[in-house]
Assembly symmetry: C2
Homo-oligomer: 190 residues x 2
């Protein structure tokens, strides 16, 4: 039996991404977001509110980093989503995170997060859904401990936070269910 | 120690969404995608290749459904990502899924998936990242068994497939790690 829920901003799974940018004075800023992700093989899309400090910083520096928040640092990521840098100039310091300048783009890399995309802003759009940043992925940085012998990400080691907006919470990843591009092949024969 | 991975279409977690549309002759079509999600409180964005039958169908009917693939039906969703309706006219029949017409939009609802958005196409865009559909969420349909007493989605009951592109696989959800908009509050006092 299906029930109508009306119109809600709900999908699952949703990610927890931490955006890193530089303020006018060169200090690092960060914010957490869930509405975005890959939009092409080499590009990401961020659906942001234009009022964020991050949006201003991206407009000016044409660069940002996008880190996957892992469960070990979910407190820092949650804080970066709760507090606006426009209200609290000490936002970054309060996280206790460490920032280093990216080698590739004009944006900070937060050392604690195990997976970070270094991106340039390819296009800034004003759409019917609001402000959208399309970023070129210039490089990915990953902690060695989350990589397998072939240099691919091991998702169990990554331990990315998975966001549930219905009962606002972050989850760990569970067990493998099936192989992709594979488990459906049996239906081809039908 | 951080390693450079270069430019890869990798982020985590990624969703498994099954798009439902009607073909010219009124038969249902479906395809599976991972590059999309919420872009506003009442809107979703789909980053598609324009060559898909689904893209044609959305252009003509200005409507689609977006279902979350659950692990119980991951074989069907995987198949819908492997096979193109342009190559196999029996694609939908081979899945064994059951389609009923949405009450709200001109698109099919697949009964087996526990969570489905009924959407109208609000805008079709050609961007530097390719073809993009912005959809208005007109309603959400959810199986009663995935809802709690307040009518909210219970993510453990939903059992959405979580896609890992590095070692292509689908995962179950794991344990709760922390409360969102909450666990970071302790850092405010610092």
């Amino acid at each position: 039996m299906k029930k109508s829920l009306g119109v809600k901003p709900y999908l699952f799974p949703m990610p927890v991404f931490v955006l890193g940018t530089y303020n006018d004075d060169g200090t690092p800023d960060l914010m957490t977001m869930a509405w975005g992700g890959l939009c092409d093989y080499t590009m990401v899309a961020l659906n942001l509110d234009e009022g964020h400090r991050t949006s201003d910083n991206i407009k000016k520096r044409k660069a940002f980093t996008l880190a996957i928040a892992d469960c070990a640092h979910i407190k820092e990521a949650d804080f970066a989503g709760l507090v606006s840098a426009n209200d609290d100039p000490k936002k970054f310091e309060k996280t206790g995170l460490h920032a280093v300048k990216s080698d590739k783009v004009d944006a900070p890399v937060f050392e604690e997060f195990p997976f970070t995309m270094e991106c340039t802003a390819a296009e800034l759009q004003h759409t019917i859904a609001g402000f959208r940043v399309i970023g070129n992925i210039e490089n990915i940085l990953a902690d060695e401990r989350i990589l397998d012998a072939e240099g691919n990400v091991n998702v169990q080691a990554l331990d990315a936070a998975i966001f549930d907006a219905a009962h606002p919470a972050y989850y760990h990843l569970g067990e493998k269910a099936a192989d992709a591009f594979s488990c459906g092949k049996s239906l081809e024969k039908k």
